[in-house]
């Protein structure tokens, strides 16, 4: 019997080529999109799962509330780990990683001299928690000696080729270390680094490592087997509340530690501040999953619609089979089986397409996702289940309809439609509405994402980021002679200004505090410190609202002057920019030798707000002042016409001042562009998958329109004989579909409005969801539907009516 079913199924597929093509193409597109998304999502969920005992590892993060609102801080004070290790018996081990600004260090081994971008100072217990496999050396005591360094296998090859480097010397910023081990990096580890140096080598003063407020350490805890983590977390919260009580009041902030599961770090930390982990975003993962389900549903609905619309063609067969003794169950099995066969063929095609497109997805997402079709039996099992699922989902209802045909009626040719004349085919229309609702939802989302991303890239940031070359200072000689270095750079006619400082837009900025003396009290506020020189405002093209820029003529500007931004005027309680002028500010400097030294100065100017961070972040209180101890970065503003010569000039001057260090530079607008990499990718993915969803939906609509035209062939013939115009007929045949699209639009718009508003909430600066987005989405959906349908409608309308009437 199965053989007979199979035969009929195959011959049917071949006989109704158009129908088979539409269904197989639709399902293939849908399934390919699904498979690619599933692979991506699966990959995103694999982070940190390779680590032995990872289920017992947690990261401590801090929910901190101050005058700027609630923030999740990935780094916590050093005493968190110390206390957990000492006072909480449920804790097996703790390890800390010191947070540092992203800064490439120069390494030298023999003749090899290279910058290495990523490395950390860590506690010696690091490898007890993260048991990375070692190629050379031993994990056990790898970080015991302050002069030891552990490097990645990649880095080892860069410096030592294929040799075993254990015991060999490696200079880090001219300071000697000896290699104690070589580990293998894992692409699914949330921390990506090339070297680790013991915390002891960082030279942290003893009193600072005892701090309860210096939030500088990523802290991990491995609990003992069977430990009650909730209880541990609750008790630890109490301890932290006690220990931080005094300064929390002083600083007007709250401290609230949480334990985050290791496997959650990658996907659930998107809004954490100062997090250096490789982070994904659960929102985007969820969005993609939803899109995958949408596309699969659209493809399945296509099948249901086409199969029921087309069921007449199979009706006679049902009648015959029933009259010779087939029962309904057998027919259901037969027709569902045919759909499963169709799904199977589509799956085969999708597997091929997935293999073809996977490299593209990998390139696009910077991933190395593989499709373990032949190596992992579970994948085969999943594909099999997917085939059956799609087959049953799409095939069950048509099978129900077909097998329910009354043999007498169909054999007499009395059934002309699965729906009585004059009745609305609710199911078919319903499914088309759902399909178009999903498509319109995707179109609206794609438009909103596109506009927001465009806005992120193009918003006036309040400064000019174009043609600014940017690089870190390197080497003692350069630090000592920064003034003359700067002057020499300015010799080139292509360079219009140079600024040296710390806190350039798009780069790391220092979050600290500022003190406002008021009524004999000293009020502390959080503030970003932008360390500047006399040319910062000029180089970045900032606008002064009131007051003046720093001036070389006024000697006190160097040590006793501050410029603040407009937000600071409000936050620090000055009311208006004018009233802020002349006010006094105090700042505890970053001088390790004299920890209690205070810089005291007057506000000499107010600059218009400018976005030195990404648009995810709200504008904060910013204080600009001169502090040469932190002259770590250089920004060179060039004239557009002379970029190449200017870069050459900078390189020449650099090599005169600090030949030991190769120069490493980028341009400010590039680093700003990179901030929105995730959004750029989201934008592209949403567009691609929206296009797929719409194409699949249109395939179905095309088929439905063809059947509608076929069914009404006689009607169209008669109307034409009676004098109907081509336009009239096209209108007649398209009208129904247009109505359905309009209904979809009504359903999709509020849903899209809600979800896109939710997404936009993440951005401090966002577009408004204008009415026109919905209009554009609606018009495009309508146009797409009309073009699809009218092709069939026009074909029917221009056909010779005599022909269609004769065939009746």
């Amino acid at each position: 019997m199965l053989q007979n079913f199979f035969k009929v199924a195959i011959r049917n597929l071949i006989r109704h080529k158009g129908f088979s093509f539409i269904n197989i193409a639709g399902l293939t597109f849908g399934l390919t999109a699904c498979m690619l998304i599933t692979l991506f999502v699966w990959d995103e969920k694999q982070y940190d799962r390779f680590l032995p005992n990872g289920e017992r590892v947690y990261r401590i993060y801090n929910e901190s509330t101050n005058n700027e609102g609630v923030r999740m801080l990935a780094p916590v004070p050093p005493m968190f780990a110390t206390t957990l290790q000492q006072d909480f018996p449920a804790v097996e081990k703790t390890a800390r990683i010191m947070m540092q600004p992203e800064y490439s260090r120069l390494f030298e081994a023999g003749k090899v001299k290279l910058y290495e971008a990523s490395g950390f100072y860590v506690d010696s217990t690091y490898f007890d928690i993260f048991q990375l496999p070692f190629k050379y050396g031993s994990r056990k005591d790898a970080l015991d000696d302050p002069a030891s360094i552990v490097i990645s296998e990649e880095m080892s090859r860069r410096f030592f080729g294929n040799d075993n480097p254990v015991g060999k010397s490696l200079l880090m910023e001219k300071q000697p270390f000896f290699v104690k081990g070589v580990f293998y990096k894992h692409p699914k580890f949330h921390l990506q680094f090339n070297y680790l140096v013991p915390m002891a080598a960082a030279g942290i003063p003893a009193d600072r490592i005892q701090s309860w407020r210096w939030q500088q350490f990523y802290s991990y805890v491995k609990v003992k087997k069977g430990a009650d983590v909730q209880k541990l977390e609750a008790e630890f919260k109490k301890t932290v509340a006690q220990k931080t009580e005094t300064f929390r009041k002083e600083d007007r902030m709250t401290f609230n530690p949480f334990f985050q599961r290791l496997e959650d770090i990658h996907l659930y930390s998107a809004d954490f501040k100062y997090d250096m982990s490789v982070r994904g975003n659960i929102t985007y993962v969820k969005a993609l999953t939803i899109i995958a389900v949408f596309i699969l549903l659209i493809a399945c609905f296509n099948f249901i619609n086409l199969a029921t619309a087309k069921s007449l063609q199979r009706a006679k067969e049902v009648g015959v089979r029933k009259s010779i003794g087939a029962n309904r169950k057998q027919l259901m099995i037969q027709f569902t089986g045919e759909t499963i066969l169709l799904a199977f063929i589509s799956i085969l095609f999708s597997v091929v397409l997935t293999f073809l497109f996977l490299p593209l997805l990998n390139q696009f997402t910077d991933k190395q996702i593989s499709f373990p079709l032949f190596t992992n039996p579970i994948v085969l099992l999943l594909l099999f289940l997917l085939t059956v699922l799609v087959g049953v989902l799409a095939g069950f209802y048509p099978a129900l309809v077909l097998s329910g045909f009354h043999p007498v009626k169909v054999l007499k040719g009395n059934v002309v439609s699965d729906v009585l004349p004059g009745r609305i085919p609710w199911l078919r229309h319903g499914l088309v509405v759902i399909q178009f609702t999903l498509s319109v939802l995707l179109i609206i989302s794609a438009l909103v994402v596109y506009r927001q991303v465009k806005y992120l890239h193009n918003k006036d940031l309040g400064f000019s980021k174009e043609q600014i070359m940017f690089f870190p200072m390197r080497g003692d000689q350069l630090f000592r002679n920064h003034e003359s270095f700067k002057n020499e750079l300015l010799q080139s006619p292509g360079i219009s200004s140079v600024s040296i400082g710390y806190g350039f837009p798009g780069d790391a900025v220092a979050g600290d505090q500022i003190i406002v003396p008021r009524n004999g009290e000293q009020k502390i506020y959080s503030a970003t410190h932008l360390i500047v020189d006399h040319d910062y405002i000029k180089t970045l093209g900032l606008q002064l609202v009131v007051g003046r820029d720093f001036s070389k003529q006024i000697k006190t500007d160097k040590d006793e002057a501050f410029i603040i931004n407009e937000t600071a005027v409000k936050e620090l309680g000055f009311g208006t920019p004018g009233r802020a002028l002349g006010q006094t500010l105090l700042w505890p400097t970053w001088n390790d030798q004299r920890p209690d030294s205070l810089k005291k100065g007057m506000i000499i100017g107010v600059v218009k707000d400018f976005h030195y961070k990404s648009l995810y972040d709200k504008l904060e209180t910013a204080v600009l002042h001169i502090y040469p101890d932190a002259y770590w970065k250089v920004a060179v503003k060039m004239k557009a016409a002379a970029i190449d010569q200017s870069i050459q000039h900078v390189k020449q001057v650099w090599n005169r001042y600090t030949p030991d260090y190769p120069i490493e530079y980028n341009f400010l607008d590039e680093s700003f562009g990179k901030m929105y990499k995730a959004e750029d990718k989201l934008k592209a993915l949403v567009w691609v998958f929206t296009a797929i969803a719409i194409s699949v939906g249109c395939l179905g609509l095309f088929g439905l329109a063809a059947f509608a035209a076929e069914r009404r062939k006689k009607e169209v013939g008669i109307r034409k004989v009676l004098g109907a115009s081509v336009r009239g007929v096209v209108l007649l045949l398209s009208k129904d579909f247009v109505k359905l699209v309009l209904i979809s639009l009504l359903i999709a718009s509020p849903v899209a409005w809600y979800f896109m508003n939710q997404w936009l909430q993440d951005f401090a600066y966002r577009i408004d969801l204008g009415l026109w987005v919905f209009v554009v989405a609606g018009v495009s959906a309508l146009m797409i539907a009309l073009i699809t349908v009218s092709f069939q409608a026009i074909k029917a309308a221009i056909a010779n009516p005599v022909k269609s009437l004769r065939t009746e």
């Binding site: 007979n4 029962n327 007498v408």
Partner: protein, 225 residues
């Protein structure tokens, strides 16, 4: 073999109620060849469909081999049908996607007959119907007479006790028509009961008895000699 008493069938649409069978009673004995005649709309086909368990009556009784079958559910009817009844239609009703052989084989598949036995039985019947040389052709490749021979072959392949023929020669020319009637006569002579609906007096003459119907009732019975 067949005994129906006061059989009723009413077709209802929203506005009209049509009585197709009006308290009809009749009997068909085993081995009989009965022709049912009457003008269009008199209820002949409805009767045939009820006899074939393709349709159910609204009232009355239908005994098939002494068993009341008018209240059988779909599954039971399908089962009874496939074991006992063969159909021959005016428009042949062959499945276009299947070859001659496969069309004839179909009832045996639903009966669960083994592959080898199916092969021999189908070949035997095709041979008998003189259509063996066309076994691998598709219905569209055959003439009308050939198609009807295939349909008859399919109707008899499972050796049914009863063959129901609905104007079996209606779509055929006279020589092909005579051939099909001869086939049916042969089958009847070998013991198969046949009930045939026809408009043709010529065809009706092949039967033992003619039942004439009007407005859902039998009005006359002629015994053929």
């Amino acid at each position: 073999m067949i005994k129906i008493t006061n059989l009723e069938k009413i077709y209802r649409t929203e506005e009209v109620e049509t009585v197709a069978l009006n308290k009809l009673s009749m009997q068909v004995a085993e081995g009989e060849f009965v022709a049912v005649m009457g003008p269009s709309g008199c209820g002949k086909s409805t009767l045939l469909n009820i006899l074939g368990l393709l349709d159910d009556p609204d009232g009355g009784s239908f005994l098939f081999n002494g068993i009341e079958v008018s209240r059988f559910n779909e599954r039971k009817r399908a089962d009874l049908r496939k074991r006992n009844i063969g159909f021959v239609f005016q428009s042949f009703n062959l499945i276009d996607e299947l070859t001659v052989f496969e069309n004839v084989e179909l009832p045996l598949i639903y009966l669960g007959v083994s592959t080898s036995e199916r092969k021999s039985r189908v070949e035997a019947v095709l041979d008998k119907m003189q259509i063996m040389h066309r076994r691998n052709h598709y219905p569209q490749q055959l003439s009308g007479g050939q198609q009807q021979r295939v349909a008859v072959a399919r109707a008899v392949v499972n050796k049914p006790k009863l063959i129901l023929a609905d104007e079996p020669t209606g779509n055929l020319d006279s020589s092909n028509g005579n051939e099909v009637m001869q086939l049916l006569t042969d089958l009847n002579e070998q013991g198969t009961t046949i009930v045939m609906v026809t408009h043709s007096e010529h065809d009706a003459r092949y039967s033992h008895r003619i039942i004439r119907m009007l407005d859902g009732q039998t009005v006359l019975e002629n015994l053929m000699v």
